[in-house]
Structure formats: structure tokens, C-alpha cells
Amino acid sequence: MYVAVKGGERAIEQSWRMLDSARRGDPALPELTVQQIRQQMRLAVARVMTEGSVYDEELAALAIKQAAGDLVEAIFLVRAYRTTLPRLGYTLPIDTEQMRIQRRISSTFKDVPGGQILGPTYDYTQRLLDFSLLAAGDSPQAAPAGPPPEPEAMPRVVALLDKEGLIEQERASANPSEPGDLSREPLRIPADRSTRLQNLARGDEGFLLALGYATQRGYGNAHPFAGEIRLGHVVVEMELEELGFAVELGEIEITECQMINQFSGNSITPPVFTQGYGLAFGHAERKTMAMALVDRALRAEELGETVESPAQDHEFVLYHSDNVEASGFVQHLKLPHYVDFQSELNLVRRLRENHPALRPEQSDPLSGVQTGMQADPPHNAREENAA
């Protein structure tokens, strides 16, 4: 019977096989291909790439397939693979102003240079289940996407407020230091903004969403406006030392959000608008908006605001945002804890032996329990202290 607590190699191998067959489902149905996932579950692919910290649609789709659609597990798979890759260098900063735009909206101005472009969005779908998708085969309304958008200069909305000095501007510093890399170095507190943004980009969408939401409900004193949200493709360039100039590596699809927040100012700084920033791979508006809200909340300290809510607290946010860490540690409770629990069992038994509510004169166990529940612990402590 003692053997029952032991696992062993064969049990693990058996579990792998069961997992494989559970993932495959009914073998009478055709197997999902990685290409299908890549093309038809693009939002899941985008999330796995962003939180997995690697831009590779095929790998992300493979991870989603292998994880049977569990995105946090897929993110873990991608991360575990990514860690084995060498880091070759840094690309140049991407220029989102030169983005090949698919969607671009601003909620702060009715019209902006370059225009408002609705693009693909679930926002106005009315959320009616489309039963035509139940039928096999291509859906009939796979309409042509229309002519490709014409390349047009699209200055950032926040830059339009620059002339009046109404909003702080984020400019590239003359001597930028090498960015940190959280996948190579431990997080250190206090963390600078670029490290914080890196942490938030890798952070769990659900966690950021809840925190961002909390700032809107009064836990963080936010007055946000969606200054601009852009979705599209940008060019990635890298400077090669041997050549001495930048080479285009390709294009990536990204979503960017610049949130405008009020800042009431203080005796030194006049009132001005401030920014919160969000960026993610692929189409990820919810993620980037939540990220921008949390980024702004985390700037409370540097802007001289009172830090009073979890979303403004660097350690609270940055140490708990990673879903691979969180998922691992929460689920490690599945591992055996016989030894720790044995120690606690011994302790609780010993403490109960000495507890006044369980003394022999109260032989009825039920009354003992009731007394125990009504007893006021500090009062007991004082009694023992006096004794």
C-alpha cells in the first residue's frame, strides 16, 4: 500500500500517451494543422507571441496545438524554447509612425491627420452567434478586404498636442543605454520604465486587464483617454557591424496604444497631460490598452503622486504579472507535501492537546468546537500571558 504514493517512470509515460490522445480528440475528424491555427486563430497566436516573448507565428501556432488551446501552457512552451536560443543583438527601435496601417483610431479628436480607420474589429459586431459558421466549408461572406490602404503620413495624435506643450513627449534619448533583458537578468526594484514596459509586455493579459480596470474604478486615480490605437505592420531593421548600416529583416504586425492621462501638476510642474504606453505583437487591443493604463499607474511615484493602490505599486505589479511564474507556483501545490504536512499535523495535534476549549471536562466534541469558534483569540492570549 505504501507503494501507492510513488509515481515512477511508467506512470509518467502513460500520462504522456493519455495526454496525446486527449489532445487529438476523435480520430475520425481531421487533425488541425499548424497552418490552420496560424491563419484562423490569429488572436490566440498573437497573445502567445507577445507573452511568450518571441515573434514567430508558426512556433506559436504549434505551441497552441500542442497545448490543446491552453494559451498559458502554450506561452510556457514558447518560453522554454526561446530560452535555448542565442541572443544575437538588438534591432533598431521600430518606428510606428511609418506603420503600414490596418486600423487606427483616436478617441480624443473627431478627425486627425491621416484619418480614423476602423479596420478589423469586434467592437461593432453586436455579438450575435453566427450560426452559419456551424456549417462546414467556407463561409459565404468571405468578402474581399477592399483595396489595400494607401500609404499616407500618419503623425501620432499625441504629437499634435506637442506645439502647445500640453502633453509630455517621449523622445529618443541622445545616448540610449543598452536595454535590459528580463529573460537574462533578474528583475531589480526600483525598475526603470523600459524594464517595467518589458515586464508588462510579457505580463498576463488577464492580470493587466483587472489591474487597469481597477485604476478606472478609483484604485489608482486614473483619468484616461485612448489617445491613439494603431494596428499594422512595421519594418524591423538591424545594424550589422560588418556592414555599418541597417538592414531590413522583415515586417512584424503590432498593436500600439498611447493613453492620455491628466496630471494635475504641482508647485514646480504646471498641469499637463501624461502618457501611458502599450505595445504587443499582432492584434491585441485589450492587452495594449490595459498595459497602457498600468504603465501610467506605475509612474505615480516618479510624477510625485501618492502610491496607494496595487496598480501603482511596482513590486506588487512587476513580481506578479508573469503567468508562467504564477501558473507554475500555484500549481506546484500539486506536488507532494507529505513531509511539511506531517510536521503541521504533529503541531496541530500538540496545540489542540493544550487548548482550553478541548479540555476533558467538555467531553462533548460539538460543544468543544462551538466554544472554540466563539473564543476570542486575543483574549485567550492575554489569559495565557497572565498565567
Binding site: 500500500m1 510513488k6 506512470a11 542565442p86 507556483f329 506546484h332 507532494p336 507535501h337 506531517q342 510536521s343
Partner: protein, 333 residues
């Protein structure tokens, strides 16, 4: 520490490393687990050499400042955080081709997580593995220290979930670092004092805080306090790895390790009114096993290798005694 990547200056070493068949021969000796084939496409012991070097540097610092938590660039391992990623990275950084590895979880070599980690190294490093404490040169453990005393030739690697002994009292990492820097450990003393006031004794039974080398307050990892005395002046090097929290620390050989207590409430370990139901030992940590629906229980050694050794010793003693009796019977007229 037989490091595979150490500069190969020793001719004998070089010959050994070149002689692949020699290494392969030692992979599956009798009594050890059958090692699966070494997985292709990965470096020896999975981590790349740059990462190993980074971890070794942090370990050197940890050994130089006993009990001090050294931040390190913990990698994402193919095992979930919280399941031993810190221990695995330490083991991977120090294991060599001639090491013999033992992995235990809750004292047992046969729980699934121990099997999984042992197999990970058998697959990625092709090293000899064992379940016997005496044979191991490297022991990775979760929540126990083996009952059998360790030697100078052995290294213990502990998996640590929360390296910060103060985290329940002060969750802020930045604050805790200040408290360590100032050796300001008043918080924990007050906590232990409050335990005594409320319960009559200290109510911490595992992960019981220790002072290492009379300086740093440290977490011994969630070992039962029963094991705490084994940390003190231990001949083996003891390394602690916390992967998720990205910290390493160490207790070098023969370092004083003191479990916190008060003069009038000295540190004490747990004791059982029972002996092990299998081997009869009264000196080992016992696990309680529920054996039937009526709540029947038995107590058995948590250290499965120790329990086996005790039983083997008894059997051979009985056999010898039996032989002697038989021999004596023959001599008797």
C-alpha cells in the same frame, strides 16, 4: 565538482573525456536506474555554457558570503516554476560526467517529480544516477536532508520556493534586502515570541529560519525542522537554488548554522511515539500513511533509501545470527 566545461589541462581528464565508450559504460551499472538515451540537440546538462558560467559565478559569490541571497539570471526551464527550476539550474551548472546523481522529493527517490528530474539529467547529461545516498556525489532534494550523514565528497542541492525567510512578515523584496543589510532581524524574533505567547511554543515546523555563519538569516527551504540540525557544520557543500525568485545561496562545508530560538525556549525537533513500521527505526523522520477507510494509520520513514538500508542491515544481521546459531548447533554435541 567534475565540470565538463572546465579548461581541460589535466591529461587524464582529457583522456577520459575523449574515451566516450568508457563514459557510456558507466551509465547503467547494476542497481542504478536504466538511463534513457541521451537527447540529441542539447548541450551537456541542457544549459548552454554561458548560462552555466553565469550560475557558477553567482554560486562562487554565494559560497563566499554564506547565507546571502545572490540574484542570478534564472532561465526559463522546461519544467514549471515552483517545481524545482532553481535546483535544476544549480545541478546543471555543477554536474560533471563523472558525477553520480540522486534526486529526492519528500525524502523519496520514487515520487513522480524526483523521477522526472532524475530522468531529465539522465537524458540531457547521460550521468550515472542512483537511489543510494552513499553512492551519490550530487544530491538534489526537495524538502528533506537524507538521514545518512553526508561527506566532504558530496554536494547537496536544495530546491527553494521562497528564499526570503522574512517574506511572510515583509513581502517587499526591497525592504527585506535592507533588513538583511542591517542584520535587523527583530521582526522574526517578535513573530517567534508571539507564537510562544499564543500557543506556548514556536509554531513553525518546516522552513524553520536559521542564522548562517552568525550573520545572515536564511531559509533552509521547506525541510522539516527535524532536519535543521543536519545543516550545522555539515561536511558537504550545500547549495540552494530558487528559480522563480531568481536567487541562489549557499552553506559551505563546516559552517555554523543556528536555528532561531530563545534561551528559555530552546530549539527542539519533532519526535514520534512510534517507530517506523517497516524498518523499526526510531531516529528518522516518519511519514503518516492512511491505510484503510477506518482511518487506520502507519508510520514509515520518509527517507526511502535509509529505510531500505536499515532493513537490509537487519536482514543480514538475522542471516548471520542464523548461520552462527546453525554453526553453533553443529558444534554442539
Amino acid at each position: 565538482m567534475n565540470s565538463a566545461s572546465a579548461p581541460v589541462t589535466d591529461v587524464a581528464d582529457m583522456a577520459d573525456m575523449a574515451d566516450v565508450t568508457d563514459v557510456a559504460d558507466t551509465v547503467t551499472p547494476a542497481g542504478a536506474d536504466a538511463a534513457p538515451e541521451i537527447t540529441a540537440g542539447y548541450n551537456f546538462a541542457y544549459l548552454d555554457e554561458q548560462t552555466k558560467r553565469m550560475i557558477r559565478r553567482s554560486l562562487l559569490k554565494a559560497v563566499a558570503i554564506p547565507g546571502y541571497q545572490v540574484p542570478f539570471g534564472s532561465r526559463e526551464m522546461p519544467l514549471p516554476y515552483g517545481w524545482g527550476t532553481g535546483g535544476i539550474q544549480v545541478t546543471a551548472a555543477i554536474i560533471g560526467q563523472h558525477d553520480t546523481l540522486k534526486v529526492i522529493d519528500q525524502g523519496s527517490d520514487e515520487t513522480t517529480n524526483a523521477v522526472n528530474i532524475r530522468r531529465f539529467f539522465a537524458r540531457t547529461a547521460g550521468v550515472k544516477t542512483t537511489q543510494r545516498t552513499a553512492e551519490a556525489t550530487l544530491i538534489q532534494s526537495r524538502h528533506r536532508v537524507p538521514e545518512r550523514p553526508l561527506t566532504e565528497k558530496q554536494i547537496m542541492v536544495y530546491q527553494v520556493p521562497m528564499p526570503e525567510p522574512l517574506f511572510r512578515l515583509e513581502p517587499r523584496v526591497s525592504e527585506c534586502r535592507k533588513l538583511h543589510a542591517l542584520a535587523d532581524y527583530g521582526l522574526i524574533s517578535v513573530k517567534l515570541y508571539e507564537d510562544i505567547v499564543r500557543h506556548g511554543s514556536i509554531a513553525t515546523t518546516y522552513d524553520y529560519p536559521v542564522i548562517v555563519n552568525n550573520r545572515y538569516l536564511s531559509s533552509p527551504s521547506p525541510i522539516p525542522k527535524f532536519d535543521n540540525p543536519k545543516l550545522n557544520m555539515n561536511p558537504a557543500l550545500q547549495l540552494f537554488g530558487a528559480g522563480r525568485e531568481r536567487r541562489l545561496y549557499a552553506i559551505p562545508p563546516y559552517t555554523p548554522v543556528k536555528s532561531l530560538d530563545f534561551d528559555d525556549h530552546p530549539f527542539d525537533i519533532e519526535r514520534w511515539p512510534h517507530a517506523c513500521a517497516l524498518c523499526g527505526s526510531r531516529d528518522s523522520f516518519l511519514d503518516e500513511v492512511i491505510v484503510d477507510d477506518a482511518g487506520g494509520r502507519m508510520f514509515v520513514c520518509s527517507d526511502s533509501d535509509y529505510c531500505g538500508e536499515q532493513r537490509a542491515a537487519q536482514e543480514s544481521a538475522t542471516a548471520t545470527a542464523g548461520q552462527q546459531t546453525a554453526a553453533a548447533g553443529q558444534e554442539r554435541p
